[in-house]
């Protein structure tokens, strides 16, 4: 909206490309502002939510209900000594935190906050999101390799294995959506949901898979084996401190919010208000949904324990990927049979339950056949 206004203001006075530059810059600045604000809020929220889940108060000293605690932490972190350990690969070591922040930020470029309010509403938006998500693993490498620390290296390697693996169900789960929505453009998908119901209802299995895989991509607790304090000190960012550490921290939360935004767009109808309430502007609804998703992530984190790496990988390859493929198959069937929204919703809901139960039984049977723990397997 602001962009449009600026564009009309500048139109005819300066070259077109300059207009594009100005509007893009304005959009980027807006998104950056949102992201940073959300970061600050998100950190506070996480600590507060975790505290409540663990039956304690969480931060409550700095500012009202501890709202300024994040700022205080930030000041403290920035004031710390910037340690560069001996033997690090200096350039890569320094660049890694900055690069980590970039892909997460880029995701927001295609997110439609409201009708027409996307920085670049690409017709291949969904693919763009996947591509940028795939880039997210590079800075982790950089950090892990350059730190000259075996914990960092092992963390990075785990990260590669996990990220590359989980990328597959992540993308596969979206195929069903594209089949139904008929576009890769995020705003088009939102429009489709507004007409035919949220994908949360029509693609429950896809949501499940996407949520789990996205969680893994985010390295959040049930799947944060690349950091795993109990095993690897702090994983790939063991050697980071001060401002550089804080950048990783920011990047992580940016990723979280980006994932939440994508889930909102893809499964929760984006800016849509639902059938009843149309009181607040679309942006407000959108942001509210994003925070709701973030809350669910925090909820999961506080509820579930960390998985072992072999369990994690097995879960991906043996459970998520087959189910994602089956989901594509059945969705394609529905599309071929020209079924409409509610019918698909019912069918897919039943399908999701049936498949999850069936597959769980299947995997359980297999596990029962080999009770020896993974790590102890000879030649494993």
């Amino acid at each position: 909206m602001v962009n449009q206004w600026v564009a009309t203001l500048l139109a005819g006075r300066v070259p077109d490309w300059f207009v594009a530059l100005i509007t893009s810059t304005l959009g980027a600045v807006g998104i950056l502002g949102f992201v940073l604000a959300s970061n600050v809020l998100g950190v506070w929220m996480e600590r507060k939510v975790l505290g409540r889940f663990q039956i304690r108060y969480g931060p409550n000293r700095v500012g009202p209900v501890g709202l300024l605690q994040t700022l205080a932490d930030a000041i403290k972190v920035l004031g710390k000594e910037a340690i560069t350990p001996f033997g690090v690969d200096r350039w890569v070591y320094w660049l890694a935190p900055g690069v980590a922040f970039l892909p997460a930020l880029l995701t927001f470029a295609v997110v439609p906050f409201a009708p027409g309010a996307a920085l670049a509403d690409l017709d291949i938006g969904l693919l763009f999101v996947s591509a940028v998500g795939a880039l997210g693993v590079v800075p982790i490498f950089m950090a892990g390799w350059s730190s000259n620390n075996k914990y960092s290296l092992i963390g990075a390697m785990r990260s590669i294995a996990q990220t590359v693996s989980y990328e597959i169900p992540l993308v596969l789960s979206l195929v069903g959506l594209v089949l139904l929505g008929g576009s890769l453009r995020l705003s088009a998908l939102v429009e489709y949901q507004l007409q035919h119901g949220w994908f949360l209802l029509t693609q429950p299995l896809a949501f499940l898979i996407f949520f789990i895989a996205g969680s893994a991509e985010l390295n959040r607790t049930p799947t944060d084996i690349m950091e795993g304090e109990s095993e690897l000190v702090a994983g790939y960012h063991t050697e980071y401190s001060g401002f550089k550490f804080s950048l990783f921290y920011v990047a992580e939360y940016t990723h979280l919010f980006a994932a939440a935004a994508i889930i909102t767009v893809l499964f929760l109808g984006g800016w849509g208000t639902g059938p009843v309430l149309n009181l607040a502007p679309a942006v407000v609804w959108f942001v509210a949904k994003v925070y709701l998703v973030v809350f669910v992530f925090m909820w999961v984190r506080s509820t579930l324990p960390r998985l072992r790496i072999d369990q994690l990988m097995g879960f991906c390859w043996k459970f998520l990927i087959p189910l994602a493929l089956l989901n594509i198959f059945f969705t394609a069937l529905w599309v071929y049979a020209a079924l409409s929204g509610p019918v698909i919703a019912v069918l897919n809901l039943l399908l999701a339950v049936a498949l999850v139960v069936l597959w769980t039984q299947l995997l359980a049977g297999e596990e029962a056949g080999s009770p020896v723990p993974y790590v102890a397997r000879p030649g494993g």
Partner: protein
């Protein structure tokens, strides 16, 4: 004249060429791999200037996101051998000459070729058109490529298994 277009082309071309040069000349293999990612991203940008957004994204997804990562993974797995990095070999001088001659040959060939004139305005090639072509005209190559990928996957697993 569209300065923005020219500017972005030259910037991306410079990025690509520079990154590529660093990839082949850096002794530190890990740095080289990182510049490889950069080169891939630069090439994705080049695709964007050619109105091939789909390809650009695919480029990032496959090359930068998968292949380069695979390279990094290989570097990690063979890190004991990576201490010596990527030193120039015996054939460095002759390779340089060959590459130079090759460039001259290619450039000469390109400059002296008469291409059928194309559209003045960039054609609009969206994902729908690509998909339609891919699944109709090029359905058979598509299937063959699928089989190739499957075979490559099985082969890679078999080879890399201890």
């Amino acid at each position: 004249m569209d300065y923005g277009y020219s500017l972005s082309f030259y910037a991306l071309a410079g990025l690509t060429v520079l990154s590529s040069l660093l990839v082949v000349s850096l002794r530190n293999i890990f740095h080289a791999a990182l510049f490889l990612v950069l080169a891939f991203v630069g090439i994705a940008g080049i695709y964007l200037t050619l109105n091939a957004a789909f390809l650009a994204v695919v480029q990032v997804l496959i090359y930068a996101g998968a292949i380069a990562v695979l390279m990094l993974f290989a570097i990690f797995l063979t890190r004991n051998a990576m201490a010596q990095g990527n030193p120039p070999g015996r054939l460095q001088a002759s390779a340089l000459i060959t590459a130079g001659l090759m460039f001259i040959a290619l450039a000469y060939s390109f400059a002296n070729s008469r291409w059928a004139p194309g559209p003045a305005t960039p054609p609009d090639i969206g994902p729908e058109l690509l998909a339609k072509e891919l699944f109709t005209t090029f359905a058979f190559p598509f299937e063959v490529a699928s089989v190739l990928l499957l075979v490559a996957m099985l082969g890679a697993i078999l080879l890399a298994r201890e």
